[in-house]
């Protein structure tokens, strides 16, 4: 009985596999874990990528630290677009990635932003004035943009002064949300969240000079699950190409 049942099950499985293998012969699907700050650019890139290669992109957005935990526990992601360079390095050292696939796909830019027009001046002096109640940042322990924000505050000698005004979002999306809803007057966000085609889309912002914090290098890596998936390789190649580079730059990243 049991043997017959398991034979039946394996027959079913085999035919299922055959169906999927056949389906994927034309177009492969690639599951990508994407750092929250790269949400808008990857959506723009995905459309071009799918048109140019015929592959399909399945994206999940979230915090890099959370993705790390999920990947270590068997998440089905094939490519990780991290918000930092240390998480992909760590995964590589732990044997979770395809060796040699890691590269920097974007360098993030930090911005001090307010949803109010004219609130933030061109030099970010508003930070030193004591006129605001809340300064929103991403959690510095988990999010690279949050860490960069604390470095800027330290360099400007403001760490102690603003300590009681800081509110933390769990990731950069939430840090943005606190500012966009007006609950925090000011916040450090990713420029990519408020920037399109060379200008700030709403409110007012100070684009923080890169010299005030460690570079926010965002690395991509192919994970073990993506080993035999041509779409994973295709995506990584596409991200290195000129078409993706133009999109990435248009959102205010360096490459």
């Amino acid at each position: 009985m049991i043997i017959r049942a398991s034979r039946f099950a394996s027959a079913c499985l085999a035919s299922l596999v055959a169906v999927f293998a056949f389906g994927s012969a034309q177009a492969d699907e690639v599951q990508v874990a994407v750092a929250a700050n790269f949400t808008a650019p990857i959506q723009a890139i995905a459309a071009d990528f799918e048109k140019d290669t015929g592959h399909k992109l399945v994206t999940s957005f979230g915090a890099t630290g959370q993705f790390y935990t999920q990947i270590k526990n068997g998440a089905p992601f094939e490519v990780l677009l991290s918000a930092d360079d240390s998480t992909p390095q760590k995964l590589e050292a732990e044997g979770e990635t395809i060796k040699g696939s890691r590269f920097t796909y974007a360098v993030g830019t930090l911005a001090l932003w307010s949803a109010k027009e004219g609130y933030v001046d061109a030099k970010g002096d508003v930070l030193k004035k004591n006129e605001y109640q809340h300064l929103s940042i991403a959690n510095p322990k988990a999010a690279p943009y949050g860490l960069a924000a604390t470095q800027v505050l330290a360099k400007e000698g403001l760490s102690d002064k603003v300590k009681d005004k800081i509110v933390e979002g769990q990731n950069i999306t939430q840090a943005y949300q606190f500012v966009s809803t007006g609950n925090a007057e000011l916040g450090f966000v990713a420029l990519s969240q408020i920037y399109k085609d060379g200008k700030i889309t709403s409110g007012s912002a100070w684009i923080v000079p890169a010299s005030l914090h460690d570079p926010i290098k965002q690395d991509a890596v192919i994970l073990n699950k993506g080993m035999d998936n041509p779409a994973a390789k295709a995506l990584v190649d596409y991200l290195k190409g000129p078409k993706a580079a133009a999109v990435i730059k248009s959102y205010g990243y360096e490459i």
């Binding site: 959370q66 935990t69 109640q133 322990k141 800081i166 769990q170 606190f178």
Partner: protein, 226 residues
């Protein structure tokens, strides 16, 4: 390794939040439950549905609407600003408001069921003995509804301790003000501090089990939440 001082302050904050929320809910929830149990009004359905909404809605939805409502452009935010309180997001008071809404059904429903189960007979008897409504409530209704009150208290408290999404959305993760245990655990996991996460998460598990064990062991009948 064991719990850090930040962990202890998160625990203390959580207990403070849960206690205050439970007390407020018992005070606010009792008249609502009484009304729901007794009324013949057509409003009974809509009000009951509103009270039960947090059971169904994802906490992120409640949190998101609260973020807008408590914010400078929201209704509650404008009210609190005009009272000179500023906005309530990122504050302990804001968390209390969020928790009261979020845990409301866990207090109101057991109370409502308990009040319904009493029926009208004991109240009629009390009335014939010339007890006034307050007297009836405190010497007849409340003692008879005691198991329901206990259930409501325990569930309201425990559910607030387990709250996460709402706090995450409106709290801003401020130590000693809005960083409750569930957020602290999430923080540890995100920062890959698994050992610390284990300690706190383990404590939470033991606490939750103990609470539910006390609740289910104390119940003598199988008659549901009463």
């Amino acid at each position: 390794m064991s719990l850090s001082s930040a962990d202890y302050s998160a625990i203390w904050l959580t207990l403070k939040l849960a206690s205050l929320t439970t007390v407020i809910l018992l005070i606010v929830g009792t008249p609502i439950a009484l009304w729901l149990a007794r009324t013949g009004s057509w409003l009974r359905g809509p009000v009951g549905a509103i009270v039960a909404l947090p059971l169904v809605l994802p906490p992120t939805v409640i949190g998101f609407y609260l973020l807008l409502a408590l914010g400078p452009h929201g209704l509650i935010g404008q009210l609190s600003q005009s009272l000179g309180l500023g906005t309530l997001t990122f504050s302990f008071a804001g968390l209390v408001i969020g928790s009261v809404l979020y845990s409301m059904p866990f207090v109101v429903q057991p109370l409502q069921n308990a009040f319904s189960a009493i029926g009208t007979r004991p109240l009629e008897v009390a009335a014939t003995l010339r007890a006034n409504p307050w007297d009836t409530f405190f010497s007849v209704t409340l003692p008879l509804a005691r198991p329901g009150v206990i259930t409501a208290t325990i569930l309201g408290f425990a559910h607030t301790v387990g709250e996460f999404g709402v706090v995450l959305m409106i709290g801003g993760n401020i130590p000693e003000k809005t960083r409750v245990v569930s957020v602290q655990i999430y923080d540890h996991v995100e920062a890959m501090e698994y050992a610390q996460a284990h300690w706190l998460a383990g404590a939470m598990l033991v606490f939750s089990f103990a609470v539910l064990l006390a609740l289910y062991s104390s119940r003598k009948t199988k008659a549901g939440w009463s």
